[in-house]
Amino acid sequence: MKSSRRKTLIRNFVIEILIYAVLVVGYFILVLRLLGGVLEGLFEGNLTVYAFVALGLIVAQGALLELVTSFLVSRLGLERVE
């Protein structure tokens, strides 16, 4: 791989990490502040509903984060690796 191409790739990768870090910090605040009490209440009150909500949340987050990271990877041209 040419040196200039490698530098562009590394720069774009760092940009992706920074964007992602900002999103993650914002997400932490959202998840931990807003969902914490709700999920604890469900866990104590109705384990069946909690179980399905938990599975739904992690699958939804998986799909969402995959979309976000794929978008960043393609937007920044990281897939075009020699």
């Binding site: 992706e16 990490i17 992602y20 993650v24 997400y27 932490f28 998840v31 931990l32 969902l35 914490g36 999920l39 604890e40 866990f43 384990l47 069946t48 909690y50 179980a51 399905f52 909500v53 938990a54 599975l55 949340l57 992690i58 699958v59 987050q61 998986g62 799909a63 984060l65 995959e66 976000v68 990271t69 794929s70 990877v73 990281l78 897939e79 690796v81």
Partner: protein, 301 residues
Amino acid sequence: MHFPIADVVISPLFLAGVGFLVGVLGGFFGVGGGFLAGPMMYLVGVPMNFVVGTDLAHMTGKSIVAARRHRTLGHVDIKLGLLMVLGTIPGIEIGARIIERLEAAGSIDHVVGMAYVAVLLTIGVFTGWESLRAMRLVRTERMQAKDVLAFRGVTRRVQVFNLPPLISLPGSGIESISLWVVVGVGFLTGLLAGVLGVGGGFIRMPMMVYLIGVPTHVAVGTDLFEVVISAGFGTLTHALKGNVDILIALVMHTGAAIGAQIGAMSTRYFVGPRIRLLFSVLPIIGATLVILRMLGLVGGT
């Protein structure tokens, strides 16, 4: 930061960092990463029953990312993955019930900890030995390194095990193999998933390579696909038993998502034996972490 469901205090940045590391390893080796994430959570004081269930939850989300990335690289044998699930699901359910019994008896930490150490050390030592033999074969026999396997004798004997029904796995280049071998591998790894809270990938990936004869890169991708299904089921069954702190899983997963992309893309630059050699170190690290925690040398609140 206090996580009320498991009633522990952990830094969310530590959890995201663990998730990132496990994501890279998972995307590269095709494992769920539970054999590292589990001991790491145990290390900081998460109760063992929550370690088991929460680990499966985080793995479900992480594996979606990595599996999709491997699918685009052509590394997923969907037929093989779906057939293994037939054994994995009952294995997980039995494993989850074992955990319930152990928790009721008050011996869960000791028993599950010892099981972790035994399984991890066995896998690590064996895989390391095989991959070194394979790399020596590449040098001495001047073979193509892409997927040399120093254990082909056992693979051939398994493939001629003719208990019907026999199936073909064109996605893995296998012409004929007994369905019971595939389902058996799925059941054993499901049992481990249910008891140890791991996706089973650290044993499923080597078993696919050494017993079924799947090429390493396809074993990596297919394993991740199977983890999505088995870990998802494991999450549900453990959550119904009160063993999942979904907040911890969601936080860990934020780091895992980016790590999984990096790990999956990196497999293009390594050949099979070298991937397996690097892989062999991981279970040994996991076993060490568990031993340190059990000896009380490290721990959390």
